[in-house]
Amino acid sequence: MSGGTDLEALVSRGYQHGFVTEIDSDTVPPGLDEALVRMISARKREPQFLLDWRLRAYRHWLTMTEPHWGHLRQHPIDYQAISYYSAPRPKGNAPKSLAEVDPKLLETYAKLGVPLHERARLAGVAVDAVFDSVSVATTFKERLAAAGVIFCPFSEAVQKHPELIERYLGTVVPYTDNFYATLNSAVFTDGSFVYVPRGVRCPMELSTYFRINAANTGQFERTLIIADAGSHVSYLEGCTAPMRDENQLHAAVVELVALDDAQIKYSTVQNWYPGDAQGRGGIYNFVTKRGECRGRNSRISWTQVETGSAITWKYPSCVLRGENSVGEFYSVATANNYQQADTGTKMIHIGANTRSTIVSKGISAGHGQNAYRGLVKIMPSAHGARNHTQCDSLLLGAGCGAHTYPYIETRNAGAIVEHEASTSRISEDQLFYCQQRGLGPEDAVNMIVGGFCREVFKELPMEFAVEAQALLAVTLEGAVG
């Protein structure tokens, strides 16, 4: 825990990213039909195979019904009232370098705390900023290009590496997978694409910032990360969004593919607007994230800190196909005020000697509802598979709820699955102990909560870990006493 955090400043900070950029957006009127799907594909000049894929997905979507399950109370979403495309209108031709980017956009990035040039360069992080539906600038392409790593907006990858897209897109999350993934497959506008060649350790952590701007613009990113044999990559995802009155929809799809001996680490610190203290107007966050350990000895780790969004519905999952492959899931999810979190993971063991580790820490405060929903499935072929799951819930205050819904399905007699869960509140004894050592009640709670989450925080890349700690403290403000 960063000892020098000034809690007063944090507490009064409120939600600092609440603002809207006045910019000329090329926004399509709301509504969804086949013509819109064709229009999106045409504007992005996509090859035929991709348009065909989108159309198959759209037609399939029409046959599906919106899922309603878990503990979630959601306002009905009117899919015809959402605008599916919004690109900032470029002045003249598209910018080829940072210097050519619309200055107002750069100012937006500065407000977001992402001075693309300065901070990114110092930290050595390449930033692919997705502004609404079009990626504006990508830096450090040269350094990555030298290593052979491709890191670019998805739409650019479609133009430059269509064969990779065609080979891998939809192979981990098929367009039929679930309602939101199918919708995404039809109308996704952009996202990140990463390809790390054989034996290459990506020289820096890759990161992306994005936000939703124009009202009623759903955000449908598509991200595809491929780690070829023997490669390593670490990817960070962090989001902010402005204050809005109406709920906004975020239905992204992330696909990860790890081939033999490859490793992918995907970290998320989510800071969506959570709705005001009465629960009005937050972000609906329905995300399908799945990684496939396709190769032997491959590894995929998901690490996430979720503090925000009115409704979170996401289950980053691993399909452990390759022998000896490893899937990991580390998560801290908080639900304060009237937030509802329904998160968890699925670990599907197919190959022999596959291993999975799940550490889920849920913190509920105010009238928040936090549910863990996980599946560990051991297929008959998964000889010697191992899973260990630890799910702990912490309740701060009498009005919140903490729920655990694991599914353990074992079909191989040689596999071992262990699941443990506990639910409690911070004990008065622990609080008093800290106070007797001189810590005020807020600091004591933050420290104990930090300790509760430590196993997850230590999996995050350093700078994210610091941001995550601060985020947690602000999210839980007012939950003490």
Partner: protein, 411 residues
């Protein structure tokens, strides 16, 4: 015709013999229907098996289909054959009218979870019985199903008066060749301070379809200790709901489910903590041999009013042999912060280190495996009283698992 339609059709053919409550149950069944495979709490139950039942009609009163087990010392006995009370073989004191009433209208216990399979028993049980327990009692209910009847139903209600301590043993037995439906419904109401020790042994035929539905409502400071040993059938589903409605009510639930060959043995327990200072302890041990599918769903819900609740769940499954499947769902829904709740669930095989240890002490592999399995099953079997019952449970388990060594007393 679907199973539901056939059921309602067959009921219509004998409805003039059935009382108002049974008619009402049939109406309800018509409206709510039967659970469908896709529903979350029926995920592991093999409900298609209902389509294979030839007839849902209860059998007529008949003779003893198998020899009765020896009586348990100190226990009164009630004998039912295919759901009908058999007075000659029952203890006179057990059939006195102040204890046992043939009831046309059994008390209805309000349920939160899905009790639809119990409705079938409400519709078809020809001899619904009510036990009113006002004084300490040790009672054994032996329920036999015979080849003569296509289906066997039991619909039983128990009311235990305040402060009364009651020991109840339930044995459901059937011959080896029977392919039929055995459908049991039990409703217990424990008044303030009542204590019930309930032991249930299900050892019907391996071909039977066994659906057992139980509801228990506990008032303040009531204690319900339930120990259930289920050998299953070709398809078996045990559904229980326990509501801790009064301050300080406690539940101690232990269940053993075994399966061998192509069987499905599915156990669902819903525990509702509705009042302060309630406690529940839930322990499940399942063993799946060969291609059997053993599942346990333990759904515990703690309401905001249930301050000071204590919950522990321990679900363990052992898989033995190719094709074995175990599914566990320990679920906790918690709406109060004044709680201590833990659950643990594990599936796996016998510990190799322990096996080696035993071998290093001179046991051959088979004996070592049998010993560890016995120890595993013993966590539930060991608490069964009296000893005669425990031995019988052990033998039934050994028989079902096809492993004679398990029948040996190991303690």
């Amino acid at each position: 015709m679907s199973a539901l339609e056939r059921m309602l059709d067959e009921f219509a053919s004998l409805s003039d013999q059935a009382g108002a409550q049974r008619q009402a149950a049939a109406q309800r069944l018509r409206i709510v229907g039967l659970p469908a495979r896709g529903e979350d709490s029926w995920r592991y139950a093999n409900l298609r098996a209902l389509d294979q039942v030839r007839s849902f009609l209860p059998g007529a009163a008949g003779a003893l289909p198998l020899p009765l087990p020896p009586a348990l010392p100190g226990y009164l006995r009630l004998v039912l054959i295919d759901g009908r009370l058999h007075r000659e073989h029952s203890s006179a004191e057990a059939t006195t009218p102040d204890l046992l009433r043939g009831a046309t209208a059994l008390p209805e216990l309000e349920a939160v979870s899905d009790q639809r399979l119990g409705l079938i028993a409400s519709v078809f049980a020809a001899d619904p019985l009510e036990l009113v327990i006002n004084a300490p009692l040790a009672l054994e209910i032996v329920s036999l199903s015979s080849a003569a009847a296509p289906a066997s139903y039991l619909n039983l209600a128990l009311r235990v008066a305040p402060g009364v301590d009651c020991r109840l043993v339930e044995r459901h037995l059937g011959g080896p060749e029977d392919l039929r439906l055995v459908c049991v419904r039990l409703g217990l109401t424990l008044a303030e301070g009542a204590i019930v020790h309930h032991q249930r042994l299900f050892a019907v035929s391996a071909q039977a379809l066994l659906f057992d539905t139980l509801q228990a409502h506990l008032a303040a400071h009531a204690e319900y200790r339930l120990c259930q040993v289920a050998m299953g059938g070709s398809t078996a589903r045990s559904t229980a709901e326990v509501r801790l409605q009064g301050v300080g009510a406690t539940l101690d639930w232990q269940a053993l489910a075994a399966g061998a060959g192509p069987q499905v043995n599915d156990t669902m327990l819903t525990v509702l903590h509705e009042a302060p200072a309630t406690r529940s302890q839930q322990l499940f041990r399942g063993l799946s041999n060969q291609r059997a599918h053993v599942a346990c769903n333990a759904d515990t819900r703690v309401a905001a009013a249930a301050r000071g609740a204590r919950v522990t769940q321990s679900l363990r499954g052992l898989l033995d042999g190719a094709g074995a499947e175990v599914d566990l769902r320990p679920q906790l829904t918690i709406d109060t912060d004044d709680i201590q709740a833990r659950h643990g669930a594990t599936t796996g095989k016998l510990d190799e280190d322990l096996l080696f240890y035993l071998q290093a002490r001179g046991l051959d592999l088979d004996a070592a495996r049998a010993l560890l399995k016995s120890a595993f099953l013993g966590e539930v079997l060991g608490s069964i009283e009296p000893e005669a019952l425990r031995r019988e449970a052990q033998r039934a388990t050994a028989l079902r698992l096809g492993d004679d060594a398990l029948a040996e007393p190991w303690q």
